[in-house]
C-alpha cells in the first residue's frame, strides 16, 4: 500500500458542518475502520464523537491547530475527515494496515491533526508550546484545540502544562477533555480518584465548563464561550461513555478496546446507518 499523504493535510472542509450529523458519521466511519480487524479503538470514537464534531465544525484549518493528545483517539479525527471528504474511502480503509500512514496509534506521519502522541500525557504541553509560540510572535489569531483524555490526568506532565498555560495566560488554548472514565485496567474511578476535576482545573487557574459530552449543542456552546475567554486557558470537561450511541454493543464491552466480530460489526453498521438517516 502506498498512499501519498503530506502531514498535516491542509484542506478547507465544507463551510457548513452540522456537528450532530458529523458525530453520527464519526461513529459510522469508525465502525467501518475497525471492522476488518474485528477489534480496535472504537470506544474512543464513540465517546469523543460530539467533541471532535463540534471542534471540526468550528475549525479554521488555515489558522487554528488541532492536537489529538492520545494517539489511539486518532480514529475519531480520521473518521471525521473521511466524512468531510478530507480523506478518501481508500485511505480510511487503510487504517491500521501494514504500510499505511493512517496508523492505529497516531505518529509523525499522521495526517489531519497538527500533533498527536502515542506516549500519553504529552499533548497538553505540545499545545501550550504552540500557543506560546503564537503569543511570542505577538499574534493571537489562531486557536489551539487540544483533545485530551481523563486517563492522561494521571500523568504529572499534564499538570505541569496546566500550571504553565495558566501562568502565561494562554487564552487561545482550548482543551476538550474526554472524561469517559475508561482506561486499560478498567474504569478510571476504580483505579485513581481524579475528582473533583472541575475544582482541580479551576484551582489551577483555568476557565472550566463541566458538561454532558454527548449533548452536541452544549459542547458547541461551551466551545464558543471558551473562544470568548480572555486571559485564561479553557477546558471543557466532557462527561461521556465509550459505548454511547451504539446500542447493539454488549453491556460488558471493554470500552478501551472494543471487540467487533463480523456479525456485531454488521449490526453496528446497520444501526448507525439508521441513526444517520433519522438526522
Amino acid at each position: 500500500m502506498n498512499i501519498d499523504l503530506e502531514s498535516p493535510v491542509r484542506r478547507q472542509p465544507p463551510a457548513d458542518i452540522d456537528p450532530r450529523r458529523l458525530a453520527a458519521q464519526i461513529r459510522l466511519e469508525a465502525t467501518r475502520m475497525v471492522a476488518p480487524q474485528g477489534f480496535g479503538y472504537l470506544g474512543q470514537a464513540l465517546s469523543s464523537a460530539e467533541q471532535v464534531a463540534a471542534v471540526f465544525a468550528d475549525l479554521d484549518w488555515n489558522r487554528d491547530r488541532f492536537i489529538c493528545s492520545p494517539g489511539h483517539y486518532i480514529i475519531a479525527p480520521y473518521a471525521a475527515a473521511g466524512a468531510l471528504g478530507l480523506l478518501t474511502r481508500e485511505q480510511l480503509d487503510s487504517y491500521g494496515k501494514n504500510g499505511s500512514p493512517l496508523e492505529a496509534i497516531g505518529t509523525e506521519s499522521s495526517p489531519i491533526v497538527d500533533y498527536t502522541c502515542g506516549s500519553l500525557g504529552q499533548g497538553l504541553s505540545a499545545a501550550a508550546g504552540f500557543a506560546l509560540a503564537d503569543k511570542l510572535r505577538g499574534g493571537h489569531a489562531g486557536r489551539v484545540y487540544a483533545l485530551i483524555s481523563d486517563g492522561e490526568l494521571e500523568e504529572g506532565q499534564t499538570w505541569e502544562a496546566a500550571i504553565f498555560a495558566a501562568h502565561h495566560g494562554l487564552d487561545r488554548l482550548i482543551v476538550i477533555l474526554d472524561a469517559n472514565d475508561s482506561q486499560v485496567d478498567g474504569p478510571i474511578s476504580s483505579i485513581t480518584t481524579l475528582e473533583p476535576m472541575r475544582q482541580k482545573w479551576e484551582s489551577f487557574g483555568w476557565h472550566v465548563a463541566d458538561i454532558d459530552g454527548h449533548d452536541v449543542d452544549t459542547v458547541v456552546a461551551a466551545l464558543h464561550e471558551a473562544d470568548s475567554e480572555r486571559c485564561k486557558p479553557s477546558v471543557l470537561i466532557c462527561r461521556t461513555s465509550t459505548v454511547h450511541g451504539l446500542d447493539c454493543l454488549p453491556e460488558d464491552a471493554d470500552g478501551h478496546f472494543i471487540k467487533l466480530p463480523p456479525q456485531l460489526a454488521a449490526a453496528a453498521e446497520a444501526e448507525l446507518t439508521r441513526t444517520l438517516e433519522t438526522l
Partner: protein, 342 residues
Amino acid sequence: MQAPEAARFRTAPYPTTLKPYGQALTKLAEERPDVLCVTGDLTRQCEIDLFQDRFPDRFIHAGMAEANMMSMAGTLARSGFTPFVHTFGVFATRRPYDQIANAIAYPNLPVKIIGFMPGLSTPGGPSHQAIDDVALMRVLPNMTVIDVADAVEVAQVVPAIADIDGPVYVRLKRGEIPVIFPEAHELSLTKAQTLVEGDDVAIFASGMMLAAALGAAKALAEAGVAASVVNVPVIKPLDRDGVLAAAGQAAAVVSAENHSIIGGLGSAVAEVLAEAGLGRPMRRVGVADTFGEGSLNAPYLFEKYGLGTQALIDAAWSAMGRGDNPPQAPVAPAATGEYAPV
C-alpha cells in the same frame, strides 16, 4: 595540511575564562531572532542570566517541570523557533527521556538541549552527576551528541549547533572553563582532530578529559612512549574514518571520558573498531559502571574515580601490555575555581 603541534594547543597550566557559553548564546541571539532561551529553574547556573537580561522577551521560565519543558520546546521548534533548553545534564536527560524521544528526536526538530555539570564535574552526588547522559542521548535516532573540551570550543559550538537542522545534546562544564586551544582553533563537527602524533598508543578524549589526555601523552613521551591524542568533541555522529585512521596507526587504544565507560565515547570507538575488524588492545577510562558520590570538590572525585592523568597513563601502559611500572604523572596543583553542588 595540519598545523604544527605547538600551534594546535596551549601549554599547561591553561588559563581559564568565565561563562563562555552564556556569552556565546547571547551573541548568537543578537544575530538570530529565532533563538529562544528556555530554562528549568537553573538560570544563573546555566550562564543564561546574561541572555535573560539582554533578551527578556525571548527568555522562557519553564520552572521545575522538565517533561513539559521538553515537549513545549518541540512545538516551539515546529513553530519556527530554535529553542536552546537549559538545565543540568541529569535533569535534561533522565527525567524527560520519553519527551525528548517522542517530541524532539523522533520528529527531528532543531531543539538544542544543553546539559550542564557533566559527569563528576559536580560534587553534588549521584543525583546531580550526569554519568549516563551521553549514552542516553546517543541511542536516540537523529540526535547529535557533543562534549567539548575548552572555552574556545564552547564559544564556537553555540553558532555551530544552531545551524544543525535537528536535535542536539551538548554537555557543558559550567563556570570557569580552561582555554586549551589557541584562538585560531576551529571546532569541527565532522572530524576528530589529532592534536599529538604517536604510534604506540592512541588516546581518544572528549570534554574535560582532553586536558588529562594531553598531560598523559606528555608524561608517556618522557618515558619513551609515543602516544597520539585525538580530540573527539562530537560523539555522535562519530568520525568513523578519523577514529579508524588514528587507531590504525597505533598499537593500542585508550578512550577517555568524564562519563560511564558504558555507552559513551569508549563504547562508540569500540563499536567502530570492532565493525572494521581493527583489532587493538583497548582500555576505556571513565566512570567504571558505578555511581559517584557527594564531596567537597570535583578534583577529589576525578582522582578517586580514576579520571585523572595517572589513570590514563596506567590504562595506556596496560593496553600496551607493559609489565613494568608505568611512569608517574607530575603532581599538578588541584584545579582552583568555582565548584558548587548547584
